[in-house]
């Protein structure tokens, strides 16, 4: 640790005073130019510090009337501070500083003694210690700033990976949603191709028979053969007209469903970087419901109570993310069949979107933490704990807020409030 080296760097050389040395002789030592910087000198028994005498104490004693006469011939131990502050040289700088400030009685006039393994190695000045502390603090502040910057960067990265995770989940759902209609559409087309082949052969056989009937020189045998061929063709499955109509209708429905899904994906991610001026949040909600269909399925009934909303200025792709997150949470809170109520309304200067579920609810001790980053009740690997925290950020950047009330066993209600005046965030959240 760099601090240890630093305390050692503060060591000032100062001669030790033997305990029996007379006060007069100590006064001479203080007069010595080379000790000019020292506020105090250590009293040493061998190399063990037993006390400390300061310049100020000497002055106090000697300047008194008859001071020199009274004390001059006495040993230094008579007037020394016999409980000096002694610091081991391997002590961390901040601990040393704490010990010095707590124990040093006269910080302006006294130094402290530095030892190594109990043996005296030199004196330390309070001023130097303070300077060193300041330098260390400056360095720590710098480290902290760097750490903060790093944290900020990794937070952005996490937000990005949360986005990717919810995107992955969505892609999985959408893949299933698209592959189902794609499955029957492809099957229908392949069947119709087969039917077309048989029907073409059937028509050819019929034409061939008709040609034979019309030809003047047709033989009996010729007709027999053609008729037999036609009869055989008719045995082949060629698709009843009604069935074919159904196939066409289903195929058209499937293709429409695929285009609807693709359109939704496009809407969902549109204008990712720019704010749009006139967004109908009812449309946003519809698009989120469609994309959440995979988690909702038919298990969860979605009840919409949309009020008339004025168009507002916002970032639709970001708000879509908020709504999808809330719908997914609501669906996951519902075990078995249940309901989600989606309500939109205006209230004074505010626009309110309410997502209310009949799920298991959030316990009172958990509720205050749900918007905290990384807070999750899901098992490891099943959620980053960032969904709601990011949602909150997004809504906040739109000048709004999210409120939540919950009754364990009954359900949870999230209310997103956004200013009607619309305040599209200038800075993108991620």
């Amino acid at each position: 640790m760099p601090e240890q080296a630093q305390l050692r760097q503060l060591v000032m050389e100062a001669p030790g005073i033997p305990p029996h040395l007379l006060v007069n002789d100590v006064a001479d030592m203080f007069m010595d130019e080379s000790h000019g910087k020292l506020l105090s000198l250590p009293v040493l028994d061998g190399d063990r510090p037993v006390g400390l005498i300061s310049r100020a104490r000497m002055q106090q004693v000697l300047f008194r009337q008859y001071g020199r006469e009274l004390f001059g011939k006495k040993p230094v131990t008579a007037i020394m501070n016999d409980a000096p502050v002694v610091i081991e040289s391997d002590m961390a700088l901040n601990e040393a500083s704490k010990a010095v400030t707590e124990r040093l009685k006269f910080p302006v006039t006294e130094d402290f003694i530095i030892t190594q393994g109990g043996r005296y190695i030199g004196m330390g000045a309070v001023m130097h210690l303070l300077n060193a502390m300041e330098a260390q603090l400056a360095r720590q502040t710098q480290d902290l700033a760097a750490a903060y910057k790093e944290l900020k960067a990794s937070q952005l990265q996490l937000i990005q990976s949360e986005k990717m995770a919810s995107l992955g989940q969505m892609v999985a759902g959408v893949a299933h949603e698209i592959n189902t209609p794609l499955g029957y559409v492809k099957n229908n087309i392949e069947m119709m191709e087969m039917f077309f082949d048989t029907n073409r052969a059937l028509v050819a056989a019929g034409n061939s028979l008709a040609d034979a009937l019309l030809a003047p020189n047709t033989t009996e045998q010729d007709l027999q053969e053609k008729l037999a061929a036609l009869a055989e063709m008719r045995q082949q499955p060629s698709g009843e007209a009604d069935d074919m109509l159904k196939l066409f209708a289903d195929t058209r429905f499937g293709v429409d469903q695929i285009s609807e899904l693709v359109q939704n994906l496009k809407n969902f991610s549109r204008l990712d970087r720019a704010a749009a001026a006139d967004v109908d949040l009812n449309e946003c909600l519809d698009s989120a419901v469609l994309l959440a269909r995979n988690v909702l399925k038919t298990r969860v009934e979605v009840v919409k109570q949309y009020g008339p909303l004025p168009r507002i200025s916002c970032m639709p792709s970001q708000l879509n993310q908020v709504f999808l997150n809330m719908l997914t949470n609501a669906a996951q809170a519902i075990e078995g069949p249940g309901k989600i109520l989606l309500k939109t309304e205006t209230d004074g200067d505010w626009l309110k979107v309410t997502v209310q579920d009949t799920g298991k609810g959030i316990p009172a001790d958990v509720l205050p933490r749900i918007f905290d980053p990384f807070f999750t009740t899901k098992p490891v690997g099943h959620g980053t704990g960032l969904g709601l925290s990011i949602s909150y950020q997004i809504v906040q950047q739109h000048g709004g807020d999210i409120r939540v009330t919950s009754q364990p066993g009954k359900g949870t209600r999230f209310t997103v409030r956004l200013p009607l005046a619309g305040r599209a965030p200038q800075e993108n959240a991620a």
């Binding site: 893949a175 592959n179 189902t180 029957y184 099957n187």
Partner: protein
């Protein structure tokens, strides 16, 4: 075969049912339902030769349907047809559903007809076969895995009654297979840094009586799909190996093998789909030699 097989289609999208029903109705008697629970009831009540089920449905997953059908009607050939599924669903479809094929949406009409035809032929031919009597001889287990702890675990489970052979070399492993009565192969799909999936598939094709338990760390949807359709693996277990799981799997596989020995036609349930991508390039000539020998051995 003049008798029409009964097939049951399960999907929560009725357009899928309508489409498939039209495709199959000239060949089979087709039942359809959008309700997985009803599908299980139908299998309990009626003779169903083949069931094709979707995976993601509102109240019950396809794997759960197939697992329960396996209990109420073990002879029904089970196929999963799914638009997208996570790895766990596929692992469960092997271990719990013991499925015959894993099919993806969108599917090819010709291909699905061929596969369902094949499944129904097998089901019809086995209809009057009951499980064979258990024979006294305990057949052996072959472990193909470079991890010695796996072979130790297998040995501890098998005790002294069943012989356990350990091989870390494919040629040697196939030699052992050709020369001995092996019931179960326990293997990884990587051996000394090489992918041996092709060998695992070839093993089943050349020797359908052998049941394969794959234990691996590798978790990949496409690989597993291939192992089902082309390798008809019996169990897919995670690594590090867990004794309880492996013991249950070994027991089940051994019982199955003994039943097949008594009624060899039962092995047709594990017929693999021919691999068109010629996996043989990954196999050595020596290995192919053993495969040929085994094939001839069976036909003679």
């Amino acid at each position: 075969m003049s008798e029409k097989a009964n097939i049951l289609l399960v999907d929560d999208e009725e357009r899928v049912l309508r489409s498939l029903e039209m495709l199959f109705r000239h060949r089979f008697k087709v039942y359809t339902t959008t309700d997985g629970n009803e599908a299980v009831d139908i299998c309990r009540r009626d003779r169903v030769h083949v069931i094709v089920s979707d995976q993601r449905m509102p109240m019950i997953t396809g794997v759960e349907v197939l697992r329960r059908v396996r209990e109420v009607s073990p002879n029904t050939m089970r196929l999963l047809l799914t638009g997208y599924s996570d790895l766990q669903a596929i692992v469960d479809s092997v271990n719990e559903g013991e499925i015959f094929r894993y099919l993806s949406k969108p599917w090819s009409a010709k291909e699905i007809v061929n596969i369902v035809n094949q499944a129904s032929d097998i089901a019809l031919s086995l209809e009057h076969e009951s499980g064979g009597a258990t024979s006294g001889v305990a057949p052996g287990v072959l472990v193909i895995d470079e991890d010695p702890s796996v072979v130790e675990m297998v040995k501890a489970i098998c005790g002294k009654e069943r012989q356990v052979t350990w091989s870390m070399d494919l040629d040697e492993a196939f030699e052992t297979l050709a020369a001995n009565d092996i019931a179960v192969v326990v293997c990884d799909i990587r051996l000394r840094g090489r992918d041996i999936t092709a060998a695992v598939k070839a093993l089943k094709e050349s020797n359908p009586m052998v049941l394969t338990i794959v234990q691996t760390q590798l978790q990949d949807v496409e690989t597993l799909r291939g192992l089902i359709n082309h390798g008809q693996i019996y169990r897919f277990l995670p690594k590090p190996a867990r004794r309880g799981l492996l013991e249950m799997s070994l027991e089940a596989a051994s019982r199955r093998h003994v039943a097949m020995k008594a009624v060899p036609r039962l092995a047709s349930r594990y017929q693999v789909e021919k691999n068109e991508q010629a996996p043989v390039v990954a196999l050595s000539n020596r290995l192919l030699g053993y495969l040929d020998k085994m094939r001839q051995g069976r036909s003679s």
